[in-house]
Each structure stands twice: as structure tokens, then as C-alpha cells.
Amino acid sequence: MSEALEAIPTPTKPCCKGVAAPPESPPPGEQRGEETPPTSPLERFDDPAFQQQFVRRASDGHCAVTLSVSGMRCAGCAWRLEAGVNALPGVSEAQFGVAQARAQVRWNPSRLRLSEILSQIEALGCRAQPFVPDGHEQLLRDERRSALRRLGVSGLGTMQVMMFSIGLYTGAFGELEPAYRDLLRLASALVATPVLAYAGLPFFRSAWRDLRDRRVGAELPIALALTVAYGASVLSLFTGRGEVYFDSVCMFVFFLTLARTIEGQLRARSELRIHGLSARLPEQVHQWVDGRCRDVPLTALQSGDVIELRAGEVVPADGIVVSGRGEVDEAILSGEPTPVRKQPGDAVFAGSANLDAPVRLRVERVGADSTVSQIATLLDRAQLSKPPVAVLADRVARAFLTGVLLAAGAVAAYWAWFDAPRAVPIVVSVLVATCPCALSLATPAALAAATHALAERGLLIKKGHVLESLAQVGRVVFDKTGTLTEATPVLSRVDSLQPGVDPATATLLATALEQTSRHPIARALRAELPASSTLPPVDALELIPGRGAAGQIGGRRFRFGRPDWSRALAAAPAIAADGLDSPRAGTTALLSDDKTPLAAFYFETRPRPEARDAVGWLERRGYATALLSGDPARQEVATLATRLGIQEAHAGTSPEEKLRIADRWVSGGDVVLAVGDGVNDAPLLGRAQVSLAMGSGSDLAHLEADAVLLEDRLATIPLALEWAHRTRRVMRQNFAWALGYNACALPLAAMGLLPPYLAAIGMSLSSLLVVANSLRLRHPPPGAGGATS
């Protein structure tokens, strides 16, 4: 299979993180706490009973399956995956679609197993599992389709009716025999009627609902205008007198449908499905029943059951350790990558990863009762109580619409009294001229353009209010580990403690001892390893949770890990080197052989390179900044805050404390932007008016945040804030224009100076102008903002 990997050509310019990542690195989002487990968990997909649900057999014996694929960011990723899977011998067809995050694969089951296809996909940096149709996604798809259908019908209808109208208009200046005039009118009516009935239906339905509830909505004037115009036109058709406005009716419906479709698309794209927490939990667990260990589905697990948790597996449910000692990575809950030691009597949580040793637990809480699920429900509620940032469009629209209806009524009354025959076209003109078409496009067009542009630059916006809220933000709050700092530690220094011991050799020995460990220190060591070096073979390798790794290399015994345990091999006294014997596991390690300690290793979590620039930009623009960290090391947190220039710093804050501090700010009137990555940030992310999750953060953070920073680039934050301000400016310009046009057109129409067709054209042009103005937001401002690189 490695030959297949090498044969895949990589595009010269990486399209995005997904393609640029080398095949060996784990999928984004899995960086913390666990590595891609060995192939065996995928082999359950080869089970015939399992396959029966998902795999289709074709008549020629080939198998076909639809997969849900996560991790594809653009067409380049899809192409790379297609190339990779097609390269496998036995695959007859593989198609990957980015828009739907799905793949169709056809293969020859006698040459290839499904698990091999899935592991190839994982090797290329994405995750795949059998597609389970999701009701919500289906709903969005159906909505989009109906919107497109209505758009097509109204668009084609409008074009045809305008063709007929050309005949009618030119005929009006010269001589047009009644027969031909009526023919054209009839044809127009025949087209306009289905357009109105099919594409116009949503407007009538909304208007009817508004009427019933005695509310003023945007659809009421629209429905009114359409009814009056259509009715008057039909009347003229049969009486042979007056004007017909079928072209205006169709154009009206088309532009309004266009506005609604853009808006709907924007909303739908924001509701991106992200692999939820349940994707992390294993489907099968090893349960001890009657003294024998059997595999049962997770759904069958109940409180009180005893299960076996092997090294590298994800904890399936909250429980208490019954026997065994091990280290568990609780990063998903705490955001801290440092493993936590567990022994009998300790509690473990669903979603955390068991690192090194098998452990037996008694299940306490399953599924929705588990801590992690409870946090999820907690912050759903926090979200509901989130004070809404007033959306500009709503405020303006309501006042405007009431005004429009009153004006139309007044005009109708006036003309009906003074000059009845002219009343109808004038009222139609008034309603058309004051149509909130451009107004309703003002917001969605601007938001769509800005959202798309930001998505291309790595900011995935999930909720509709984000851009408008960002423009109002006054305070930015950061989490520490994984947000301002890199997610994994880095080897910063190796000190040789004995003459003749070379730090590079010591590093090689340490890496060899830790080569199979999932501990963050092991990952940091492996990251430092030059690609060409080979590790010496290790005999009698032992990974001892909470202590380190021990083994024999070239006949000598070594220990690498906690300083006190490591030097115990040599029975050496405590070493005075700085910080070496302090109880802070995870930042210092010692390599010893059985005679003497050899070298001291220092690890640190580095701040992200662009953190300082990003914070500096925020400071210069007058944003209040704060750092809320769950790390109890007060000194380290304070140092980091000073280094980056952050004004306020709190260390050792629990999720509840973070929420409390955020509450204080929000009720004090601040608009808060929170940036975080772990589950312990989730309540904070829920309470802040706008929240950003790091792309490498926990799944729960992704679920709860309003937006995701795809490539963890903090520099995108200043960019997003600037863009949000520009978007607000453009929206205001759009509103000003739309209202201005309506304000000027209304008196003209009311006085009878504006024929309906002119009103419709004017309305269309003003809508187009709004869209064109919004398109400016697709490009970065000249001299793109501050901290971006």
C-alpha cells in the first residue's frame, strides 16, 4: 500500500491543509490524546453482518458503498482521495464529493477488503465511515432543491414574458391590432399564472400567516402588490381596456425568489455537520460477563457493567477503575494534553483516551448521562439564553413595512376618490416601487460575500449572526493551551549530565525508548527526529504509566521519564539542575542508565508564532484582551500573558469559573469574542456573544462554537474583525441606497408619474446595485489589515 501512496502525484501548490499534510500525520482533530489506532478497529467493517446494512452488491459481484467522509476541505482534497483510492488494486470506481462530504466506492471484494479502503483514506488524512442518511441533511437538501426549482421556473417565465412585453410596448407606440394585442396578453397571462402560483406560493403563504397572526412581515406588501397587479392585469385582459402588468409580476417574483435563495443558501451552509462526540466513542466494548470477556455493542452497556479498556482505546462511558493502573488523556474535557494517572477507585470519563495500560472499569453513567454529554446539554441551554445582538435588518424592516402599507392605502384611497381608472396602476406602481426587494437583499448579499471570502481564508462561519456580532465586539478572550500555545509540547533543551554523553545520542536513545508511546512527550520527541535517522532496537521495552519508558539498548539498561524514577535505576541522589526534581510531570524528563543519570530533557508548550502579532493588533485597535486558562501554573500563565501583551490573565479556572467571569463581562455590557479549543472552554464559548474554536480543538468545541478557525491561524482573527466592520459598512450602504431609492420612487409613483413597468425596472436595477456593492466584500481591503501574513 505504501507504493500506492508514493505513486500519487501531489499538486504543486497545496490547496489547503488537508492536501499539504503528509500521509503519516493523523487527521486534524485527532492530534490530541490519541493516535490513529492500528487497522484492527477498521476490520469490523469487513464483518458480513455489518456489511449487510451498508454495502450493496451489484449483479457482477462488485460491491458498492456510500461513505461519509470528514476532513475534505476543497476539490483538491477530493481529487487526492480519489486518486489514492482508485490506485488501490481492486477498486473499480471511487468518487469523492466535497459539497456533500460523501464518497461512492465500487470495488472487487475478492481482491480488496473494505477495511483496506478505509485505512487508505485515513492514511491520506481523512476519516470515513459508512454513510447513514441524516434527516436534517436531507431536509436542507430538499429545501435547496425547491428553491432552485422556483428560481428556474420564475427566471425562465420572466424571460419569456418580457419577450411578449417587447411586442406589447412597441405595439403601444404604433398601431397594434386588438387581436394581436390580446394574443400577446393571453400568452403573457398563461406564463405568468404558473409562475405566480408555483414560485410565488411561499410569499402568499407567509403573508397569509402574518395576516392570521396580525403581524407585519416582509411578505405582506409583496403579496398585496402581486395580487393587485395580477388581478388588474387579468381584468384588462378580459375587458380589453387598461394595461397588463404580467411582466412586472414575473420580474417581481423572480428577484424576490433570488433574494430568498441566496439567503437560504447562506443559512444552510452555516449549519455544517461536524462529526459529533458520538463519532469518537467506540461502537463495541469489551465486557466482562461471567468471567469471560466478550465484545458487545456500546448501546447495550448499562450502569454497573464491568468492561475492559485496552491500551489506545477511547473510554466509552463514565466509570470507576476497578483494577489496573494507567494514564488517561482527558484533553477532550480539560484541554490539557498532560496525561492523568488513574488507579483503582479513580473516575474516568467517556471520550477520554486510555494511553498505555489495560484497565478494568465499572460503568457508572452511559450515553446521555455521561459528563461530556451533560456539558453538551448545559451549553445548549447557555446558547438559548445568549442575549441576541440586535440584527440591523430586523429593526429597519419592520418600521419600513408598516410605513409602506399605510402609504399604499392612503394613495389608493386618494386616487379612488379623485380619478378611479388611474387608481389601479398607481397603486401597483406604489407597491412595486416600495417593494423591499433591494432591502431584503441588503443583508444576505453582503453576508454571503463576506462569509465566502472568509471561508477561503480559513474561517468557517457556522451561525448567521457571526459577522454582525463580530463588528460589535469589544473584548477578546483566549484560552491558553491549544489556543494561544501549540497543542503539543516541544523539546526545548537537552542538557548532558555526564562528560562524554552527547545530547544528540541521548535524544536518540530517549526517542527509541518512547517510540511506541502515545504520551505527548513521546510525540514531541518523535517530531524532533530527523527523517533519515534510524532508531536503535530496544529489548525488554516497558512502558510504565506515570513514570516513563524502560528498556535495554545494546545490552545497557535505560530509563527515560520522571526524574525521580529514572535516577532510581542508578540509585543516584536528587539532581540540583533547574526544576529537574519538581513535581511538574510533563515538562522535564531524565535519561539514566543503571550507573548514572545521563541527560536532562526540558519540554515546553510554545506559544503559536503569530499569537504575539495578533494580540498586538488587538491592543492597537483598542480591544480589551484576557486570558482564561485551566492550567494551574499561575506563574507560567502570567508570564505568557505579559509576553503576548494580554491585559488580564486568570490561571487554574474551571469551566464554571470561566463561565462566571464571562457572565460578569457580558452583563457589564461588553460584547465578548471567545477563542478556545477544549471541552472545558465549551461553556465559555456558549456564553460569549461570538465564539471561535480552533480547528485542532475538541469536537465539542467545534459543535458549540459559532465559527471554526480551520488552520489554527490566529492571524485570521484580526482579519475577521476587519472584514466584519467592512461588512457592516457595506450593509449600511445597501440599506441607505435601498431606502433612498424607495423614498424617491414613492412620491413619483403616488403622483402617477411612474408607470408600473418603470417601477419594476427601477426596483430590479436597485437590487442589482445592492448585489454589486456586496460583491466588493469578496476581496480583501487595499493594504490588508495589520497582523495578517
Binding site: 476539490a75 486518486a83 481492486g90 464529493g97 419569456q160 394581436y180 406564463v191
Partner: protein
């Protein structure tokens, strides 16, 4: 000009056909992904003879 009595109904029929074709396209996923297919031509194709078309059970 009397030809109009003939031509206009034909144009309505053509319109109907156009709308039907559009609705068919929407219902058959043609508009689901407007970007990827366009970019597909920019990527190199693997030679199609490397694909597997052998039947399962046949000697290979």
C-alpha cells in the same frame, strides 16, 4: 403577422420544455455541487486502464 397565432403557442411549448429540462436537472443532482466538477478538469487523470474491471472469481 397571422403567423403569430402559430408561433406564439410554439414558443409556449418550448418554454414548457425548457422548464421541464431544468426541473429534471435539479432533481438529478446536477446543481448540487457547482464548483468541484469545474475544477476537476484541472487535475490530471490516472490512466483508466489501471482501474480494476476484472470480475470477482475470475483468475487475475
Amino acid at each position: 403577422m397571422s403567423a403569430l397565432f402559430f408561433l406564439i403557442p410554439i414558443s409556449l411549448l418550448l418554454l414548457g420544455a425548457a422548464i421541464a429540462a431544468f426541473l429534471w436537472a435539479v432533481d438529478h443532482d446536477q446543481f448540487d455541487d457547482l464548483e468541484q466538477e469545474g475544477e476537476r478538469i484541472l487535475f490530471d487523470d490516472r490512466a483508466s486502464d489501471e482501474r480494476d474491471t476484472t470480475r470477482p472469481g475470475s483468475p487475475s
